[in-house]
Symmetry: C2
Subunit: 412 residues, 2 copies
């Protein structure tokens, strides 16, 4: 029988009523002739409660015990979902991660799935089970202990199951009805995308669009899992949700598919650095060693053997960055006059696989920002993305201006 | 190293503070040189919440899914307890039932422990772990699914671990400070017993004293596990709690150790049964087939070939009993004029291994009840117990009168 993987996030299973509604969706797929693997999150709020208990008990907790405690929320939902399906006369049973087993690395709280043997579930499908309800977010380490995959990990569980079982599709039910050209809270012209390429989704996910865990998109791209994001609260129609798919499946595309933003960026500037060959390595080596995720880098033109070096990093890594650079200065490996951190910045990005074939996207972007009097502090580009750092107060204006400039309210 | 098993009930781990207090008790035993296996219940209220969710989802639930859901509460406590001990620098880790593994029958929701292999825990004790925190109430079936042991099952988990690991003692921490001569809410003269024999505890447990699960006492008796019941809220002293132990360890004993009562009894009378050889089998066979737990039986003297037959059973089985007897009458296997159920009764019992060597206990009991004008409806006796069925309104009075008559406020 053809197989679907269907994942419900915490808000979609936040009460017995919502579990019932989710189960009905699954029932529809079963009636259509699909066997279904349902991946469930914990009921909304439950994981936070457990995480808080662990934090209160032990601030520097043993991650193995954290995982043992925090994984319990998904087990509850899995059992309740199986019972709900049984009440609807759908043959179903629940599976905890270790029962499948979902085999992961030993990196507790941030484990990676290594293998999902299909024998146990397939044996039950062969016996007539129509739905396997699997607790998301969790697995078992080679040492036989429970692991978790990090926040949002149930998305990754879902995609990994879809890959392992060769599912026809992986549907991610959440509290939004798809992926938008930008955040609808910022631009009322934001339009739901029917399709988006894996690469674009990856850029959007890592740029702060919180629809899917980044790792789940990477996995889907690698294993060519057809992914769909849709709302568990709306009626399903032909055009429900957003397909995340291979570039080839997107016939026609705009130059730009979406505008993303992030407030969690800080700009750091090293003023008057002694410029010499190897200075970049001398600066960014210690930062990497300190675990600072440097994003954008700009080096000014050197004058009289000195230059300014600017980079951006997440705001919560500013202290770590300062410490690393002061240490390098104290050791004498770099030399600068001053180090200035500016946390009053934001990053705005345009993303689109269409950039590869459309020339002049960068120029169009800079022009649109200039027309609004927005000064660009730093620029980075990739093949399908252009990001700029601007004053935070202009963030919403920039998003709206770019959405207008690239006419994202119109479909391709 | 010598080993203790220590069990904490739901009220003893009902909050992070209470878990901390419980962990301190464990720390004291570790400091004394013991390795400790800690068995934990779910935080008070959690199991009820989960049970209610299951009931609301599916009134006639799949017991396998019930077990998967309901067992999660103990896993949370186990992890939190391990973290708390680690914070106190006590090397500890948590174990879920399937990790030990606690091997049980497949009778979901009422499984019996079949085996507890000691290898996994002992390997960790050998590596320097001092405390194994084990989620109580749960195990794993031969099919690899999670099972639970029935309400109060964590007591049984504790005793089974004590037996399997040859523990020096099994301490059951609860919200009362021991076993009393009777319920202190009924008689203010109730006295905490320092020691009680397994057989007496069994009679008291099955008679409604809710301190220990009956099965745990049976297990302790069979494997000679030295059991102690004590409060997790009081200071520990030399005479803390009550030891449940072999008869031989109790040097001197009163004729009666305790007075127990139960409100959940009903008296059923078959009026004017046609008396003939085999009539008892014809009556109680169908009752047994219907799952009715008949407790006391009285047959009146037969007059003119007819007799009255009276028995008692739990109140919630009255309907089932009526149905079974009406069925037998319809089939013609028994014949009676009327069937009368009286739910307005209570059972009061005196229990004591001393009865074996003290004559006249029954006479003394009947005399004490008669002196208060309490009419006895039915009587049963065992070697160490005498039970009477009386009008429910006299229950408290009877308990107090018997407590006085046998001078239970005085120790032996």
């Amino acid at each position: 029988m053809p197989l679907l993987v269907v994942k419900f996030g915490g808000t979609s299973v936040g009460s017995l009523d919502k579990i019932r509604r989710a189960a009905k969706r699954v029932g529809v797929e079963v009636a259509r002739g699909y066997d279904v693997i349902v991946i469930v999150s914990a009921m909304s709020g439950k994981t936070n409660e457990l995480v808080n208990w662990v934090g209160e008990t032990s601030p520097l907790f043993d991650a193995r015990e954290y995982d043992a405690v925090v994984s319990s929320g998904e087990n509850v939902t899995a059992g309740l979902m199986a019972l709900t399906l049984q009440e609807m006369d759908v043959p179903a049973r629940s599976w905890q991660g270790w029962q499948v087993p979902v085999m992961t690395t030993s990196a507790h709280s941030a484990a990676r799935i290594e293998d999902i043997p299909t024998e146990n579930l397939n044996a039950k499908f062969d016996e007539g089970m129509r739905v396997a309800v699997v607790a998301g977010f969790q697995g078992i380490s080679p040492e036989g202990r429970i692991t978790t995959l990090g926040r949002g990990g149930s998305d990754t569980t879902a995609v990994a199951f879809a890959a392992a079982f060769g599912a026809e599709r992986c549907d991610i039910y959440t509290d939004v009805d798809g992926v938008y050209t930008t955040d609808p809270r910022i631009s009322e012209k934001a339009r739901k995308l029917d399709k988006i390429a894996f690469e674009e989704m990856l850029e959007l996910a890592s740029l702060g669009a919180k629809v899917l865990q980044t790792r789940s998109v990477e996995l889907a791209m690698r294993y060519k899992v057809k992914l769909r994001v849709l709302s568990s609260f709306d009626e399903q129609t032909e055009t429900s949700g957003t397909y995340v798919c291979d570039e080839e499946e997107i016939m026609e595309s705009n130059a730009v598919s979406g505008v993303a933003y992030s407030r969690d960026e800080a700009k750091m500037t090293l003023i008057s650095v002694a410029d010499r060959p190897g200075i970049a390595a001398a600066i960014f080596g210690p930062l990497a060693d300190a675990g600072v995720n440097v994003d954008m880098i700009v080096q000014n033109i050197s004058e009289e053997g000195r230059t300014d070096m600017t980079f951006s990093c997440p705001t919560d890594q500013v202290l770590r960055a300062e410490k690393a650079l002061q240490g390098a200065k104290a050791e004498g490996s770099i030399n600068y006059h001053d180090l200035v951190a500016d946390q009053d910045v934001a990053k705005v990005s345009v993303v689109g696989i269409g950039m590869r074939s459309h020339a002049g996207v960068a120029a169009q972007m800079f022009h649109a920002l200039h027309a609004e009097g927005i000064n660009i502090k730093v620029i980075t580009t990739s093949e399908i993305k252009i990001s700029v750092l601007i004053d935070r107060k202009y963030m919403e204006l920039a998003v709206q201006a770019l959405h207008d400039a690239f006419e994202l309210e119109k479909s391709a």
